[in-house]
């Protein structure tokens, strides 16, 4: 929970400045950010009332609108006697008569700090598609809970959909506190129940607020009715939640929308930056061709800029005459997105007619349209229980994990890393309707899905060993562990692993080394170097390492493993408590100098498509247990540090 004792005023109303000093007011209102948030809940939860309250209390309601709803409140309002603020936001005639909201409505209000765009979506199960639509552009979601009812299936549904669409900040608003006499235990019980459920969701930030939208408690003004609540008001949270931090400023991405060639002298590539920062002089790779060039100018109508970042709409010119057309992606060299014609993605189905496997759909992704099909639904997620169930299709409002095959490759990132380059929509070729939306996880494997997630066939059980881990530890003088040395080719992974193996042996311990080469000689001789095959190679290594660990040995594994998700899966296979990650790294220039077998040179000539760091992405690990900069450290120093880590973590004594 946030503390509001930072001295900030809870909200800036249409201030007195309007009347006294309009120029000062305008200046104050020039430098605002935008926050887009989603409100999830049903009419019964008081959602429309809450939005009406935000608009009303931030003085965004004009008097004539208020007069109109005063009149309407008498005829169709649901609040006995009083003004029904919900009527401010219920739009189309038909739904006003039905008394429910049936679509995504966008509302606007602003304070001196921020302009807010509310995506207002209904909460019923059959409106999953609307919530998904609304959530797709939002940074924050407000989950409304009726204090009378507590956590309901719809609460779980809303939270799941919000996190599925990449919203990392949830505000849980426990509404109608006035109905429960503003009692703290009611609020605490709901909060505890919600926490128990939400711990399964990857949400970065979670705030709880007890409020009454009807009476305004803790919406804009701190409530005198709930002195036990010391946290921020809803408006204060909305004004202060950080929004900029969620955007990726590391990996440059610009999907080319339009090639601007007004005359023979100018050839500009127009598009919106969806990741990273573009600067003149930056080396970039154009995908899918893989040709590299250098940014010459970053052109805007207000003059060239030195830096362009999300979500700026700019025009790039390049120093070389490379062929670039609409749909191509300009990416920072060395930090490339995936290029693949198979995808593993979570699909939300939005049409009455169910998903048809094998049927060609138009897929719009970035600035590109390709034809593609869904080969298989790997599982369907029940949005009320979050249970995964087998499925052969998806009906309206159903969500499932699907394997795609495309007629041409797409250039994409995982949705978790880049919402713009990780999302796509499916369009029916006959009706032209948008029938589905998908969030990409990774390049797809075979149509049966990848082996990491496959459930073993039949009724299989490993027989228990008659030697206990304690007996092994006593005999060998070590606790088993798997160390994953990850990093680009030529970083020094295998050499360090071998040095550590020797060092441990000399101390009386036992370790073994797995590396890419030795695996590909045998166990993985059927695999290539695509992202999918690299993933499968690591899966086999992880399974084998687990067996080696069970035998009491220390396993030193040296693999590139360019994807964070694959490293995470390896960690899961081996076990959190006996897995260490060592990131072995050096600048790309240094690696190229060590490149005796010409791997990097071939990649730069465009001849080797799957070289991480040059022609394929490498996701640097965030939380490595140890980072070794091999341009600065020698082999023995590196080995020292690994041995020290093993000792420090209690694997050797």
């Amino acid at each position: 929970m946030r503390d509001i004792s930072d001295g900030c005023a809870p909200v800036s109303h249409a201030s007195d400045l309007i009347e006294t000093d309009i120029l000062a007011y305008l200046e104050q209102h020039e430098r605002k950010e935008i926050l887009r948030f989603l409100t999830c809940g049903s009419v019964d939860d008081g959602k429309s009332t809450l939005i009406g309250r935000l608009l009303h209390d931030s003085r965004m309601i004009y008097e004539d609108q208020l007069e109109a709803i005063r009149q309407d409140s008498r005829t169709i309002g649901t609040q006995r006697g009083g003004v029904d603020l919900a009527l401010l936001v219920d739009g189309l005639q038909a739904e006003r008569e039905q008394g429910i909201t049936i679509d995504v409505a966008y509302r606007y209000f602003s304070t001196a700090r921020r302009k807010f765009i509310i995506a207002d979506t209904p909460g019923h199960e059959q409106y999953t598609r609307n919530m998904v639509t609304g959530a797709s552009t939002c940074d924050v979601a407000i989950i409304l809970i009726d204090a009378n009812n507590g956590v309901l299936p719809q609460t779980r549904r809303h939270s799941y959909i919000a996190q599925l669409l990449g919203i990392r900040h949830l505000i849980v608003a426990v509404n109608k506190m006035d109905d429960v006499s503003y009692e703290e235990p009611v609020f605490d019980a709901i909060r505890d129940e919600y926490f128990a459920f939400a711990s399964k969701l990857p949400v970065d930030d979670l705030d709880f607020i007890p409020l009454s939208a009807l009476l305004g408690d803790n919406v804009v003004e701190q409530s005198a009715n709930m002195p036990w609540y010391q946290g921020a008001t809803l408006m204060h949270l909305l004004e202060t939640i950080p929004v900029a931090a969620v955007r990726d400023t590391e990996r440059l991405r610009l999907p080319v929308q339009y090639v601007n060639r007004p005359d023979a002298d100018f050839r500009g590539y127009c598009g919106s930056i969806v990741g990273g920062v573009a600067r003149p002089g930056d080396v970039v790779t154009v995908l899918p061709s893989g040709r590299t060039s250098t940014i010459d100018r970053v052109v805007t109508a207000d003059g060239d800029v030195e830096e362009a970042f999300p979500p700026m709409a700019v025009t790039l010119t390049l120093k070389d005459a490379v062929d670039v057309s609409r749909g191509d992606v300009v990416a920072g060299a060395g930090q490339l997105p995936h290029t693949a014609d198979r995808l593993d993605a979570t699909v939300v189905w939005m049409a009455e007619e169910p998903l048809a496997l094998g049927k060609p759909y138009v897929i719009k992704h970035g600035a590109r349209k390709v034809t593609g099909q869904i080969d298989a639904v790997r599982y369907h997620t029940d949005i009320n229980t979050l249970a995964r169930e087998p499925a052969s299709t998806l009906a309206l409002n159903e969500i499932g994990r699907c394997a795609f095959t495309l007629a041409e490759p797409l250039v994409f990132d995982a949705y978790a890393n880049n919402r713009d380059l990780g999302a796509l929509i499916l369009i029916d070729r006959i009706s032209n309707a948008t029938v589905g939306a998908a969030m990409i996880h990774s390049p797809g494997g075979s149509t049966s899905g990848d082996a990491w997630e496959e459930v073993p066939h039949g009724d299989l059980h490993a027989s228990p060993s008659r030697v206990t881990p304690n007996e092994l530890q006593t005999r060998l003088g070590q606790r088993p562990v798997t160390v994953l040395f990850t990093g680009l080719a030529k970083a020094g992974k295998t050499a360090i692993a071998r040095a550590v193996e020797r060092r441990l042996f000399d101390q009386g311990q036992l370790a073994t080394v797995f590396d890419g080469q030795s695996f590909r000689l045998g166990i993985s001789r059927d695999l290539g170097f695509s992202a999918r095959d690299r993933s499968e190679n690591m899966r086999r290594a992880a399974e084998a390492a687990r067996l080696v660990n069970e035998a009491g040995l220390i396993c030193l594994t040296a693999f590139v493993v360019p994807q964070e998700s694959v490293r995470e899966r390896a960690r899961g296979t081996i076990g959190e408590d006996r897995f260490l990650e060592v990131f072995v790294t050096a600048p790309l220039d240094v690696l190229k100098e060590r490149d005796e077998d010409g791997l990097y040179a071939a990649a730069e000539r465009g001849e080797a498509p799957n070289v991480p760091g040059v022609t394929a992405p490498f996701e640097e690990p965030d939380g490595a247990d140890l980072v070794l900069h091999t341009d600065e450290l020698g082999l023995e120093e590196s080995a020292d540090q690994v041995v020290a880590l093993l000792r420090e973590r209690g694997f050797i004594f």
Binding site: E33, Q93, A105, K115, R129, N260, C270, T300, T434
Partner: protein
């Protein structure tokens, strides 16, 4: 009207690192939409109403294709009853900025003497605006038409899409609009269908005014207060813009300091009394006045939900 010299220019970057101001974010979003339409459609056009929103839209479109020229024409549906100052402004802007401007008038309506005075606002608007617009779209085969409508203008527009698909008869079916996710707009249509595109969807009235102010966008002088001849009819101030305005018994045009919050056909546009002659003063009045924007536009008053009805018929 240029804003005063002390006008600050629009700086986009906020101190807190890589963050754009709200106006720069809105600008970027609009430019993204405009580029997407030009890339995906065969014959786009911009519906140019000469109002402040149209002026902002035109400004954004020029930015989108800088340093190139605008890659589509502008279409103005001239009812012949626009304020004279609007027509002068339109022709001068088109000339100075070298724009490809198409002006379309329902000539049969002119021959039949369809005027706001002879037919009443509903029928007149249908014949001289809606029907004229649809005929012009058909005549030129436009498959995408940019408009300056915003979602905050009226409650029924809160759910309007950025891409609003119209069938072969230009009709809008509220039940058959496409979900819009992320920035992935579905522009797939069949022959004969068209899409109305609203790049200003997420702008509010205050955003538009601030942007006009900060970017120094020229707008029709009628937005600023000046002494103008007006008569009061049914509680609304109507400007006597030319000799075609027939005065009723007892009506005597009076010179009053007035301005207009929205511009259209002069007999249908109510003026408000005002002394606001600069942009900051206009914005100040807008913020203080507790009257929503479309109140000056008489065509909304016909029936509850009339805007929704007009959308179905093909007018915005």
């Amino acid at each position: 009207m240029r804003a005063p010299d002390q006008r600050p220019c629009l700086e986009g970057v906020l101190a807190a690192g890589y963050t754009l101001t709200h106006l720069k974010q809105l600008e970027a979003e609009s430019i993204h939409i405009i580029r997407e339409v030009v890339a995906e459609f065969e014959r786009p056009v911009m519906l140019y109403s000469i109002g402040k929103d149209s002026s902002v839209l035109l400004h954004l479109a020029k930015k989108a294709f800088f340093p190139g020229p605008l890659p589509f024409p502008l279409l103005h549906v001239d009812t012949t009853w626009k304020f004279r100052a609007m027509i002068e402004f339109r022709d001068r802007i088109a000339r100075e900025q070298d724009l490809d401007l198409i002006v379309h008038t329902n000539q049969q309506g002119v021959v039949d003497n369809v005027t706001p005075f002879t037919y009443g606002s509903k029928k007149y608007t249908d014949i001289m605006k809606t029907q004229a617009l649809l005929a012009a779209l058909d005549e030129h085969g436009f498959d995408a038409a940019f408009g300056g409508a915003r979602r905050d203008e009226e409650k029924s527009r809160a759910k309007e899409r950025v891409y609003s698909v119209r069938d072969g008869g230009h009709r809008w079916d509220p039940k058959n609009q496409r979900p819009e996710l992320w920035r992935l707009y579905n522009g797939n249509i069949n022959r004969g269908e068209e899409v109305r595109v609203f790049p200003l969807s997420n702008w509010t009235e205050l955003d538009v005014w601030q942007y006009v102010y900060l970017e120094g966008i020229e707008i029709v002088p009628l937005y600023f207060a000046a002494e103008r001849p007006v008569v009061e009819r049914d509680g609304t101030l109507i400007m006597v813009d030319d000799e075609r305005m027939e005065l009723e018994a007892g009506e005597e045009p009076q010179l009053r300091s007035v301005r207009f919050r929205t511009l259209g056909c002069y007999p249908l546009s109510g003026a408000i009394e005002s002394d606001a002659s600069t942009l900051p003063e206009v914005i100040q009045e807008m913020l203080i006045a507790r009257h929503s924007e479309r109140q000056g536009r008489l065509i909304d008053y016909d029936a509850t939900g009339s805007m929704e009805q007009k959308k179905r018929e093909g007018y915005f």
